[in-house]
């Protein structure tokens, strides 16, 4: 029912009612056996076509351009091992250059022309905000947006849209509660991106850290004409505030610039970063590139940085998920570095396949949404999902870690929390389930 032909009013209304009834039937009894058929746009007897918008070139591309190929590698792995109920996933991701006007166009192409079954892991807050209303108006499942904006959790206005990674408010709370407990009485400063990413993060931090301890708040403009100069000025202000702990909600490029500015000002507070700006391989690579150094220069600069993560650490080679994804990486995308972005892309893809299996053999779009609305079992993430009919947030917790020799070393157990100012940050004791031996949910 994606498109009407012009038939006049009455038949269309009848058709719409009928298809709604059909959709309702389908959702209540997802068939568990029977012939595979073209049950929805984008689904044929043999394939599932899904689409995404990704920054493959442009300012956001470095690092993030690995995510979609990594997801695709996981889908290829699934396809090679039986697919989803025998169907192969075709993942069509288009380059939006992190420019929301291009996002608008490519998402229309995916939905109106390619008739994808769902949009998966569309990357970026401003870019995806530009298309979320359209995707929802077209009633296309919008699964696992690659952004920690709390805005994706709006089931009444955007019933099709679901977040995935821990949102920035929760992340701020978990980081904040750690800092409040371990740096009692010390002078704390914030360095953050001046948009919903940084502001949500600061909001979460503020729920946990006493305002009296916060001596400076320095926002940066991600579109600054001269980022190095901008960060230099802000770093000088941080130093002047004599903060002993600096908590950053910054993208990798600005994280690297902050670290270099600190170095040149001989200012060395304890650095605490959100997971967005703390993938060791990405950050040390940027540090090396900006400082025109090579080797361990970058790694040495982020040694001891505190961060959080909602996925297992790449350094934990005994983790079943890390070994599964490393195996797939080596087989399908050996040319890419095995870094946090690749881990992210595969983990999100795994979650999508989980949802597809749950949606049934011949799913409609509504079946897929219903599948997520009824909750997904914890798998690749260290904390459970929040998914329900009234909550479209994804991962609810993370663990605190320290970067040592380029890998994350956990400093404690997983913490979970909610989005509210008063909701406690609590320890999650259930161990992460092991990856299925087949590698497929």
């Amino acid at each position: 029912m994606a498109r009407y032909r012009k038939l006049g009013l009455a038949p269309v209304a009848a058709l719409a009612t009928l298809s709604m009834m059909l959709a309702a039937c389908g959702s209540s009894t997802p068939s568990s056996s029977g012939k595979l058929q073209a049950s929805a746009p984008g689904i044929t007897a043999t394939t599932i076509l899904i689409g995404s918008h990704q920054p493959l070139t442009g300012i956001a591309a470095p690092g993030y351009d690995e995510i979609a190929p990594a997801s695709n590698a996981y889908f290829q792995y699934v396809n090679a091992h039986g697919g989803v109920y025998g169907r192969k996933i075709i993942y069509k991701y288009l380059n939006d250059q992190y420019n929301s006007s291009i996002t608008t166009t490519v998402v229309r192409q995916l939905i109106l022309q390619d008739h994808v079954f769902a949009i998966f892991n569309g990357l970026g807050t401003p870019t995806h905000l530009a298309v979320a209303p359209f995707i929802n108006a077209e009633k296309v499942p919008d699964l696992f947006v690659a952004s920690g904006c709390a805005c994706w959790n709006a089931p009444s206005t955007w019933p099709e849209t679901f977040g995935w990674q821990i949102n920035y408010i929760r992340e701020g709370k978990i980081l904040g509660s750690y800092v409040a407990a371990h740096f009692k009485g010390e002078r704390i400063a914030y360095f953050y991106q001046d948009d919903e990413f940084g502001l949500d993060g600061i909001k979460g931090l503020g729920y946990e850290i006493p305002a009296s301890q916060v001596v400076a708040k320095e926002p940066y403009n991600v579109n600054a004409a001269n980022p190095a100069a901008e960060v230099g000025t802000l770093t000088a202000a941080l130093k002047a505030s004599r903060a002993q702990v600096v908590i950053a909600f910054a993208v990798p490029a600005f994280m690297a610039l902050l670290r270099l500015s600190e170095l040149s000002l001989s200012y060395s507070p304890q650095l605490v970063s959100s997971s967005v700006g703390s993938d060791p391989i990405t950050i040390s690579g940027l540090l090396n590139a900006y400082a025109k150094k090579s080797g361990s220069f970058g790694d040495s600069l982020i040694q001891g940085m505190i961060t959080d993560s909602y996925l297992p650490s790449l350094g934990d080679t005994t983790n079943s998920w890390i070994s599964l994804f490393t195996k797939i990486h080596n087989e399908y995308i050996p040319k890419l570095p095995m870094d946090g972005n690749v881990l992210y892309g595969m983990a999100a893809a795994y979650t999508f396949v989980q949802a597809m299996f749950k949606a049934g053999r011949n799913p409609t779009r509504q079946d897929l949404v219903n599948a997520v609305n009824s909750g997904l079992p914890q798998g690749v993430s260290v904390a459970p999902y929040a998914y329900s009919a009234t909550d479209h947030d994804g991962i609810t917790g993370a663990y605190i870690a320290e970067i040592e020799k380029g890998v994350l070393v956990p400093l404690g157990p997983t913490q979970v929390t909610d989005n509210t100012p008063t909701g406690a940050v609590t320890t999650y004791t259930t161990a992460q389930p092991a990856a299925p031996t087949s590698g497929i949910p």
Partner: protein, 365 residues
């Protein structure tokens, strides 16, 4: 008479476009709307550059003005779409007037620099006043299909219709304007500013008028793009957009309205075509630079094959050869050269020597 003829052609074109639009699927309708909106902007710019002889590297800024004007008017004041489009044209036209006043005092590279700055600076306004302009996320708004078309009428088709109707109106107006005294004066101005002024033309006023008009077209285009995409974001009006408009003007053929159509089509349709082409010919979508490189290649080939733009090429194929030296490109080149020598009292000497002797008015007359 030309007015009537152009209006007649316009009505025919309008009917053809609307019927065509109805036959397309939703995504093609969306693309058609995009093409129409882009052509409006390119047409305005080609008049500015190719006819009035002024350069703007920052025309995306006026699209920004038009787009945000429409979004704000629809969002907050609930203005009907038609009114919002007209208002966007007026607001962008006024902005163009301000730029034009400055432009009238600037020459060559300085004018280019000033318009460039505008394109870079204006989108920053959206970040500065996030409360009004929504910052990076911009503004979302909705457009409804009018009731008389029935509930089943697709939004994309309606958007396509609106864009095509606006395109035809703008093109008819521009075509008439170019044939009018004002169009003639602009061409005179571009070709020979001194002579134009000596003939009594108010050079400054004509230049500002050209800027206003061109900016108003960009405003309409911005407004149409906004109502097609149902949102406006600063990212939609980057310097890259301005440069693309300029590219489309040159590709189509400077100063040619028909050329603007070619330019707009290439601008909107070729990149996605190349992406699909690359994908279906074994380039994985990971090699994202392949379509971009392909686009560059297309541009280079077009300029090599049609140095006077596509419309210039079409004209060459269809009609008698026009003297090469009178092409608008060379006219601008000449003007620039003259600008560089400005202040020197020696004027370019006329090359042609009257060998055969011309019949002058009979002196005994």
């Amino acid at each position: 008479m030309t007015l009537a003829r152009n209006a007649g052609l316009g009505i025919i074109a309008c009917v053809v476009l609307l019927v065509l639009c109805s036959k397309l699927d939703a995504y093609r309708q969306y693309q058609m709307a995009q093409v129409a909106a882009t052509v409006v902007a390119v047409a305005g710019l080609t008049v500015l550059i190719g006819v009035s002889g002024q350069l703007s590297i920052g025309h995306g800024a006026f699209m920004f003005v038009g787009g945000y004007a429409t979004a704000l008017l629809v969002l907050h004041l609930n203005w009907p779409l038609a009114l919002a489009i007209v208002a966007s044209a007026v607001v962008a036209g006024l902005a163009g007037g301000v730029m034009g006043v400055a432009a009238a005092r600037l020459r060559g590279p300085y004018l280019a620099g000033a318009t460039l700055m505008l394109a870079v600076a204006l989108p920053a306004v959206a970040y500065q006043w996030q409360g009004v302009f929504g910052g990076d996320q911009g503004l979302d708004f909705t457009v409804n299909t009018p009731g008389f078309l029935g509930a089943s009428f697709q939004l994309t088709e309606w958007q396509g219709w609106v864009c095509c109707i606006c395109l035809v109106i703008v093109m008819v107006l521009l075509a008439n304007l170019l044939r009018s005294r004002i169009g003639r004066s602009w061409r005179a101005l571009r070709d020979n500013e001194t002579a134009a002024a000596l003939a009594g033309l108010n050079v400054a006023r004509l230049r500002v008028l050209a800027f206003m008009l061109s900016a108003a077209c960009a405003g309409v285009a911005g407004s149409l793009l906004a109502m097609t995409m149902l949102n406006v974001t600063p990212g939609a009006f980057t310097l890259a957009l301005s440069i693309q408009l300029l590219t489309a003007v040159v590709l189509g053929g400077l100063g040619s309205l028909a050329g603007a159509v070619w330019g707009g089509i290439i601008l909107v349709l070729v990149p996605p075509f190349l992406t699909d082409f690359a994908a279906s010919h074994g380039f994985s979508s990971a090699s994202a630079s392949v379509p971009i490189a392909g686009y560059g290649l297309v541009l280079i080939i077009v300029m090599l094959v049609f140095p006077a733009g596509i419309q210039g090429g079409v004209r060459r194929l269809l009609g008698p050869v026009a003297p090469a030296a009178t092409g608008p490109v060379s006219a601008i080149g000449r003007r620039l050269a003259r600008r560089l020598e400005e202040g020197s009292t020696t004027d370019a000497r006329q090359e042609g020597v009257d060998k055969e002797g011309t019949r002058w008015p009979d002196t005994a007359n």
